[in-house]
């Protein structure tokens, strides 16, 4: 069996993983990145819109500052975020964007003079200042007071990922692609690497590492209608959960994006609405201002997704063989803007939907998009429960997003958190030494081998993993969707528990010598169902509505009882996670208040004086 030893093992080579890897490699440490796919194909590459950072260069961002960015982020999170982390993020974001420019990202730049922009479908003029000529530009995204989202046309994720991956080439970092982590190696106190399965040959490989980083992105593939890539199956969160000692944070906090395309579920960027696109109903009537007079289409995503669903429930959706949908209208932005700044949108609409957005309306509806929850880490990126285990990016619950993240804040998080956590990983590596006990690696390998053998030889039965996945998909969509209630959540948990029992009996339908693609999913299924249960059960227990977690039977935000974060650990042999709760934030620069959009009632909390810090101090 091949064994690799390294200082830092990055599970995942998207933006967060690679940004941490750059920091460690530049400090002289040995780094190996694992990836399910060649790293430039990571799902980060699909993020079109941009990264929020308060650079304040553009006309519409005058007066912006990290304070304003911080405020938008906290409101967006519906006060579910850790304010210390959100502050750290907002303050560091401008530096991280400039650093990416230094590394080679071709950010779109300010062009001085009077320009025509759109807001809510109507044109207006604004003058870009001569003194800002050639500095990093920004566009509008939802839930923000200023135009703050830095972008490269509509390929932001792609161009930042290519820049970082090229940096790894320069630094000589080894990337082992087509490698799937199956289990963390640990002794209950220290994490010392992972057992992985090679997706070329099917062989198992041991990685011994002083630090293991989970940067595997989200777990959107537990839903059927998701914008996420096929690789976003929660692999990293699963390995953490199955240690039995590392908690996942706020798994019930799941974001639905207002503009998933119909029927493919491919994302159409928020940049469409940021640049002035509007949402229309079956009568081609612009309905959002009726619900949200001030922010309209640019309220936070949780609010827009709910308002769209509400509107369709009134029978005002457009009927289609794929279910009801609404229209996205960007026609008024004109051909030039659509085919440059929104080119991916143009490509996706014409190639996948058969619609030309220059002349036609584009069918959209709210679609699963983002996981606010994930491996719970502290502000330094260290996972709870195991030393030597870190996490970053969407895989983690850092937690700057709370119960709803703003568009442009997650892509920014990858490089901002990557920078901050990368430096903390370096400090950790400089300050500690590790002892690798072969017994723990051997144990882990044995467990993985036994599972593979049971599945491959159908020893416990011949349950079909594709069939189980489709039940998981359906249950998550129907019972743990945009609007939730106690009855549906309970029946969802019940169904998933049955499914979990069945997953022990998965057997392969066919078998290859070497690599078997079916086995990849078969090995993941148990863990994906557990992630589904963590989400559904966390949602069932949280008897309030906050951000993206909307309970029809508990419509108010209850700060008195629920100003906290759910932590889910999974003890071996259990059929439910063990839930505990911690305070959402160590202190408040902004005490809980009104978001200014979304409506809804709040049950106020008494925040002790000593928990309140002066704003911006």
């Amino acid at each position: 069996m091949r064994i690799f030893e390294t200082d830092l093992l990055c599970m995942g080579a998207g933006l967060a993983g690679e940004r941490v890897a750059v920091e460690a490699a530049e400090a002289g440490f040995n780094v190996i990145c694992l990836s399910l796919v060649p790293p430039k194909r990571s799902h980060s590459s699909a993020a079109m819109g941009g990264m929020q950072a308060a650079l304040g260069n553009s006309a519409m961002s005058q007066g912006d500052s990290p304070d304003v960015h911080f405020t938008d982020t906290v409101k967006g999170s519906d006060w579910g975020c850790d304010q210390e982390v959100a502050r750290l993020f907002a303050d560091t974001a401008p530096i991280a964007m400039r650093e990416m420019a230094h590394m080679g990202v071709p950010w779109s730049r300010v062009v001085p003079g009077v320009h025509t922009y759109y807001k809510g479908g109507k044109p207006f003029e604004a003058e870009e200042l001569a003194e800002k000529d050639g500095l990093i530009h920004s566009r509008a995204f939802g839930g923000t007071a200023k135009w703050r989202t830095c972008y490269t046309s509509d390929g932001t994720g792609h161009s930042v990922l290519f820049t970082l991956d090229n940096k790894l080439l320069q630094l000589g970092v080894d990337v082992h692609d087509r490698m799937q982590a199956e289990m963390l190696i640990h002794d209950g106190e220290n994490c010392t690497g992972a057992v992985c399965r090679c997706l070329r040959t099917g062989e198992l490989v041991i990685y011994r590492a002083r630090v293991t980083l989970i940067a595997t992105g989200g777990y959107g593939r537990i839903y059927s209608a998701t914008t996420n890539a096929l690789i976003c199956d929660g692999g990293g969160q699963i390995t953490a959960l199955e240690t039995g000692c590392v908690p996942l944070g706020n798994m019930e906090a799941v974001q639905f994006h207002p503009t998933g395309s119909v029927p493919t579920d491919i994302l159409l960027t928020e940049g469409c609405r940021g640049d002035g696109g509007t949402l229309l109903d079956v009568n081609e009537y612009r309905f959002m201002p009726d619900y949200e007079p001030e922010k309209a289409e640019l309220a936070s995503r949780d609010v827009v997704a709910r308002r769209m669903t509400e509107h369709m429930r009134k029978g005002l959706g457009v009927k289609s063989p794929y279910g009801d949908h609404l229209w996205l209208d960007i026609r008024h932005l004109g051909e030039k803007h659509i085919t440059t700044n929104l080119r991916e949108v143009y490509d996706i609409s014409t190639k996948f939907l058969g619609v030309n957005p220059v002349h036609q309306l584009v069918p959209v509806r709210p679609t699963h998009h983002y996981s606010m929850g994930g491996v719970r880490i502290n502000k330094d990126g260290a996972a709870y429960g195991l030393r030597g285990l870190f996490s970053a990016g969407e895989a983690a619950c850092w937690d700057m997003h709370g119960f709803n993240r703003l568009g442009g804040n997650s892509l920014a998080e990858t490089v901002v958190a990557g920078r901050i956590i990368g430096k903390k990983v370096v400090e950790y590596l400089q300050g500690t030494d590790s002892i690798f006990h072969t017994v723990h690696a051997k144990d882990a390998v044995k467990q993985v081998q036994e599972r593979i053998s049971a599945i491959a030889n159908a020893r416990n039965g011949k349950e079909n993993c594709y069939e189980l996945r489709s039940i998981l998909h359906q249950t998550m969509m129907e019972n743990v969707g945009i609007f939730r209630n106690g009855k549906d959540l309970q029946s969802g948990v019940d169904t998933l528990q049955e499914l979990l029992a069945r997953s022990e009996n998965i057997g392969l339908q066919g078998h290859n010598k070497g690599f078997t693609p079916e086995l990849s999913l078969a090995l993941r299924m148990r863990g994906m169902i557990k992630l589904g249960i963590c989400t559904a059960y966390g949602a069932l227990m949280r008897t309030e509505s906050r951000g993206a977690h909307a309970r029809e039977d508990y419509p108010e935000r209850n700060d008195e009882k629920w100003l906290n974060r759910t932590l889910a650990t999974w003890k071996e042999g259990d059929s439910l996670p063990t839930l505990s709760y911690e305070e959402a934030t160590p202190w408040y620069e902004i005490p809980p208040g009104e978001r200014g959009y979304g409506g809804g009632k709040t049950i106020a909390a008494d925040i002790p004086e000593d928990k309140i810090r002066p704003f911006g101090a």
Partner: protein
């Protein structure tokens, strides 16, 4: 009712000594908006779980699913079956190492080329976190981004006549990549430096000019223009010390980095 599709797929598992390359026919009912991603996934999940192929974003963004579709390299995820005849033939991309069936190892190929060509910004400037960013013209940023849009799917290499004859040919994707760095003022490499890596038969001078690369590029990159620009710049570089001064002045604007304008 949709058409009945016949999909012939090349099957071969290099790890199985009993496997021999062969074509296997599958049959499937077509439905509206069906892409080859949907069709192949359905085949694996309902007919043959051993079938190997690669998809990731399924949105034409990540470049995972390049394959030869009815004789033409293309992305399977953004290919609608309604645009194809009812009889579809799928082969893996040539040139790249076969992993199994329709899955090929583009990752290793692109990484080794990237290392060889040093596809990163060459600069000695230190990042100063207290300084504002270097300014750049928006037009230039857009030009760089235009070339940066390559998704490394490998279609241009698979369609390349030169690459079929010459194993070490770098392909249009690499020349485009170098053109991207040549454009970028943050990269301090000179014409001589670029000449070192692509001013040869593996690079710009190996191309026979068949230009299938641009025809098949799913991102519609201006590969032909970039080849012309880089070839002109490097051809001049190779003769600049032997041509008379008046000719030299005509061939260049005098700036080392101006091969593109």
């Amino acid at each position: 009712m949709g058409r009945k599709l016949q999909i012939d797929i090349m099957r071969y598992n290099p790890l199985d000594e009993n496997s021999v390359p062969h074509m296997q026919s599958f049959f499937l009912e077509e439905y509206p908006s069906m892409t080859l991603f949907v069709a192949l996934t359905q085949l694996r999940e309902t007919q043959d779980p051993s079938l190997q192929f690669d998809f990731c974003c399924r949105a034409g963004i990540c470049g995972s699913c390049g394959m030869v579709i009815n004789g033409r390299p293309s992305l399977a995820c953004s290919t609608q079956t309604r645009d194809l005849p009812a009889h579809i033939t799928l082969h893996p991309l040539p040139i790249f190492k076969l992993i199994g069936d329709l899955s090929v190892d583009t990752g290793t190929w692109f990484r080794s080329v990237g290392t060889r060509l040093e596809t990163w910004i060459h600069s000695n400037a230190e990042f100063d976190e207290n300084a504002i960013e270097e300014r750049m013209e928006d037009g230039l940023a857009k030009e760089i981004f235009e070339l940066d849009r390559c998704i490394e799917c490998g279609c241009c290499v698979a369609a390349c006549g030169t690459a079929r004859m010459r194993e070490d040919f770098l392909g249009a994707t690499s020349i485009n990549r170098m053109a991207r760095f040549h454009l970028d003022p943050r990269d301090n490499r000179t014409a001589e430096d670029f000449y070192e890596v692509i001013g040869n038969d593996q690079g710009v001078f190996g191309c026979m000019g068949l230009l299938a690369c641009e025809d098949v590029c799913p991102k519609e990159l201006p590969l032909q223009d970039q080849l012309g620009i880089m070839r002109r710049m490097l051809a001049f570089q190779s003769v600049k010390n032997i041509v008379p001064a008046f000719l030299r002045d005509k061939m260049t604007c005098g700036h080392d980095k101006c091969g593109h304008k």
